[in-house]
């Protein structure tokens, strides 16, 4: 009993933990393996896989202890507020990561490509208009049309934003059935989105190597797709927690964090749809 009283009156400082150093070992293995892979050493992928396995072990262990601490009531009040601030600033850092790639697209379209069009000495006859694979790559190419799969994907992601919010309302009203259905629908829509993206990639009439258009297209949509994948994994974890009886109307930071993340992924997609596919 006294432990719980302690937990609610003072800030919970966790005991020494081995998870961070395990995570560092994982990242060292992943990075070294990747370097070996790029240097075409056969062991590279295996070292990377080992690192990834250690990373998964670390994530499961670390998040596992946080969830157990949370269920024991150690992470309430001020600690809960810290977690919320932490997630907000993490999402801000993610926004800035995407801003770098959006910035590259903006610069290429508005400055680099038009300037190449004006450089008559270098590439006579190059128009310098968007979309382009650049003056040096002459293979014919068709840009991705906005009003096919991408538009459907926009609807899918927007709907998934609605279903996760509907699940959140269920949580606030204490209706467990609505939470579960809302989350399962969200995961389903997320998977559908990913499936359509994979289909789009498979059918795409250009590759990563198709000049600046291919580079910006695949890097932006690819990193977005990775974030959707991560979001689906996070949604799956909290769905499991809902089935295990976690979260209440008053206390559900894990749920809130994942839904913020999902909305962030949604907003990035909207910007992608407008500036990568449409305009």
């Amino acid at each position: 009993m006294s432990e719980h009283a302690h937990a609610t009156t003072s800030y919970y400082v966790p005991p020494p933990s081995r998870w961070p150093i395990v995570g560092s070992c994982a990242l060292l293995a992943i990075a070294s393996g990747f370097v070996l892979l790029l240097a075409k050493v056969a062991a590279g992928p295996w070292v990377m896989a080992l690192g990834a396995a250690i990373l998964v072990y670390m994530l499961v262990g670390w998040f596992g202890s946080v969830i157990r601490e949370n269920q024991a009531g150690l992470l309430e009040g001020q600690v809960d507020t810290s977690f919320r601030w932490g997630m907000v600033w993490f999402i801000f850092s993610e926004v800035m990561f995407f801003a770098g790639f959006f910035g590259a697209l903006f610069y290429a379209r508005n400055f680099a490509v038009p300037a190449l069009g004006e450089a008559e000495m270098l590439w006579p006859g190059y128009a310098g208009t968007w979309p382009t694979t650049g003056p040096g790559i002459t293979d014919p190419f068709t840009p991705m049309a906005a009003w096919g799969i991408p538009a459907v994907n926009t609807l899918i992601l927007l709907s998934s934003g609605a279903t996760v919010t509907w699940a959140h309302w269920g949580l606030q009203k204490g209706e467990r059935g609505q939470i579960k259905l809302g989350l399962v629908l969200t995961i389903g829509l997320g998977l559908l989105f990913l499936g359509l993206q994979i289909h789009e990639y498979a059918e795409a009439p250009f590759t990563l190597k198709s000049g600046i258009y291919g580079a910006t297209f695949y890097m932006l949509t690819g990193f977005h797709g990775l974030h959707v994948t991560l979001g689906v994994i996070m949604l799956t974890v909290i769905t499991g927690r809902v089935f295990a009886g976690h979260f209440s109307a008053a206390r559900h930071f894990g749920f809130a964090a994942v839904s913020w993340y999902w909305h962030f992924v949604d907003v990035v997609w909207l910007m992608l749809f407008v500036v990568v596919y449409w305009l």
């Binding site: 432990e3 302690h6 003072s10 800030y11 400082v13 966790p14 005991p15 020494p16 933990s17 961070p20 150093i21 995570g23 560092s24 990242l27 990075a31 070294s32 990747f34 370097v35 790029l38 240097a39 670390w62 202890s65 157990r68 601490e69 024991a72 001020q78 507020t81 810290s82 601030w85 932490g86 600033w89 801000f92 850092s93 993610e94 800035m96 990561f97 995407f98 801003a99 770098g100 790639f101 910035g103 590259a104 610069y107 290429a108 400055f111 680099a112 190449l116 694979t133 650049g134 003056p135 040096g136 790559i137 990563l208 190597k209 000049g211 600046i212 258009y213 580079a215 695949y218 890097m219």
Partner: protein, 523 residues
């Protein structure tokens, strides 16, 4: 590890190596950061010694040009990411919870990871010296197309910088959350010590720009290996685009390395002038203005790469605007000293010197902001002189001053004042001997990053090299003073500086393992 251990069980911590590997204590982690920073400072300093030895005389003596490029590139990269940034995070770890009356950092385990990612990055960078082709030789700024053409070490550098960025972002989120959420009751934002304010704003800059660096070095990686054309004109890309995105990170990065130094100076000067900091509110607004302006000045690093005149004018004037909040800070420091009861212990000597020498660095920065002048001075030793006045006599000497200031609190012992002053004078004189002549060299046209030079530059280079060797040797004295202080000395008591009034001085020296288990009340 398990919550079955109960909340109080962790007052007992493991001993030996496991204490440091698994610690969740902000003081332990701060100590780790500071030792890491010191070791990287000595390593990157050793690289600089070889640079100065090579430049002692004209001609090629010690290293071949490729090796020289490796030395300058790695010196810059390691000093920035390995020495200066971790030192300030070490200060933040030790001081922020103590100064705001918090029990620890907001995310203690994440804090541990932020530190233990640094050795991962250091391993990659140090190992890169031994791979085929040798370490990074394309400059710490990693400009394509040269960077694209490098060997395995360049991939290792990219991944190391990714890991460093991860560490910085997590560290910054931790610091922001700690400051926003863990202040003692009654400590409003405008009652926070200025050091805490500078770190809040620095952490904001880190979260805003480290991800941008991550994105641009990812583009480098895919250009190198996966056939993208971000920085290749044949594919519609542009190498200058790299510079734009890089410096969008790079200029705020400069302030990431100087704002915490401002915080340390703003703590030391009032203590030894025995007066309150003059113009506290204006200091806070000045720091915030510097941070915001840092986002709209990046292209002053690339005036020679070509841009419209309107762009040159915009970036010139926005850069010069920064002089205004910076001037506010310098005048406030001077006004704090004015008519104070001043004593000149080692931290105060460092602080006053930083104010003077940083101002020189600021002025040479203003000179470089002028487009026509910058076009003449781009890539000369004038630029090298400028950023060493800012980064060595601004950032590094603030770190040294801060170490002397807080060592009694951290160790419980007073440091050796005589040796401290020796270190100060040797450092200050040798620093000026090394870097002041570089202004003349640059104005006379000596290019940077070149291992050989024309005969007329010989005298100043010899002076700079001699100064450099003394400067390097003086830092060994610093290590000796620090180690001596840790091992023993006159007991410091709670408050060895009678003019100090922040919260850490209300605790015993060294502070207990858990500092404020019940938050102090601030009125």
């Amino acid at each position: 590890m398990d919550i079955a251990l109960a909340p109080h069980a962790h007052d007992e911590h493991p001993h030996g190596l496991m204490r440091w590997l698994t610690t969740t204590n902000h003081k332990d982690i701060g100590t780790l950061y500071l030792w890491f920073s010191l070791s990287m400072f000595l390593f990157a300093g050793a690289l600089a010694m070889v640079i100065r030895a090579e430049l002692f005389q004209p001609g090629l003596q010690l290293v071949d040009p490729m090796q020289f490029n490796r030395l300058t590139s790695m010196h810059g990269l390691i000093m920035i990411f390995g020495a200066i940034m971790p030192a300030f995070v070490g200060f933040a770890n030790w001081q922020v919870p103590l100064m705001i009356g918090a029990p620890d950092m907001a995310f203690p385990r994440l804090n541990n990871w932020s530190f233990w990612l640094l050795p991962v990055a250091a391993t990659l960078l140090l190992a890169s010296f031994f791979v085929p082709g040798g370490a990074l030789a394309a400059g710490w700024t990693m400009y394509p197309p040269l960077f694209i053409q490098g060997g395995i070490a360049y991939d290792m550098t990219i991944l190391a910088v990714h890991v460093l960025g991860l560490s910085s972002i997590m560290g910054a989120i931790n610091i922001i959350t700690t400051i926003l959420n863990l202040r003692a009751p009654g400590m409003t934002l405008m009652k926070m010590p200025l050091f805490v304010w500078t770190w809040l704003i620095t952490a904001y800059l880190l979260v805003a720009v480290m991800p941008v660096l991550a994105s641009v070095i990812t583009m480098l990686l895919t250009d190198r290996h996966f056939g993208t054309h971000f920085f290749n004109a044949a594919g519609g890309g542009d190498p200058v685009m790299f510079q734009h995105i890089f410096w969008f990170f790079g200029h705020p990065e400069v302030y990431i390395m100087i704002l915490p130094a401002f915080g340390i100076i703003s703590t030391i000067i009032p203590t030894f002038a025995r007066k309150k900091l003059f113009g506290y509110t204006s200091m806070v607004y000045a720091v915030a203005s510097i941070a915001l302006l840092s986002f709209i000045v990046w292209a002053h690093h690339m005036f020679t790469t070509g841009m419209p005149v309107a762009g040159q004018l915009f970036f010139m004037y926005s850069t010069m605007l920064i002089a205004i909040p910076t001037g506010v800070k310098v005048f406030n420091w001077v006004a704090t000293i004015w008519r104070g009861s001043i004593t000149f212990e080692t931290p105060m000597l460092f602080a006053i010197t930083v104010v003077c020498l940083f101002t020189i660095g600021g002025f040479s920065g203003l000179v470089l902001a002028l487009v026509p002048v910058d076009i003449q001075l781009q890539d000369t030793y004038y630029v090298v002189a400028h950023f060493h006045y800012v980064l060595f006599s601004g950032a590094a000497m603030s770190i040294m001053g801060g170490v002397y200031y807080w060592l009694p609190k951290w160790t419980g012992h007073r440091y050796d004042e005589t040796l401290g002053k020796w270190h100060f004078w040797l450092t200050t004189i040798a620093f000026n001997l090394t870097f002041f002549p570089m202004h003349f060299l640059g104005l006379a046209g000596m290019p940077r990053r070149i291992p050989d030079y024309a005969l007329q530059f010989a005298d100043f280079n010899m002076i700079a090299s001699l100064g450099g060797f003394v400067l390097g040797a003086a830092q060994l004295l610093f290590v000796y003073v620090v180690v001596k202080c840790i091992r023993g000395g006159e007991p410091a008591g709670e408050r060895p500086w009678d003019g100090a009034d922040t919260l850490e001085w209300t605790l015993p020296s060294p502070p207990p393992y858990h500092s404020f288990t019940t938050p102090p009340k601030i009125d």
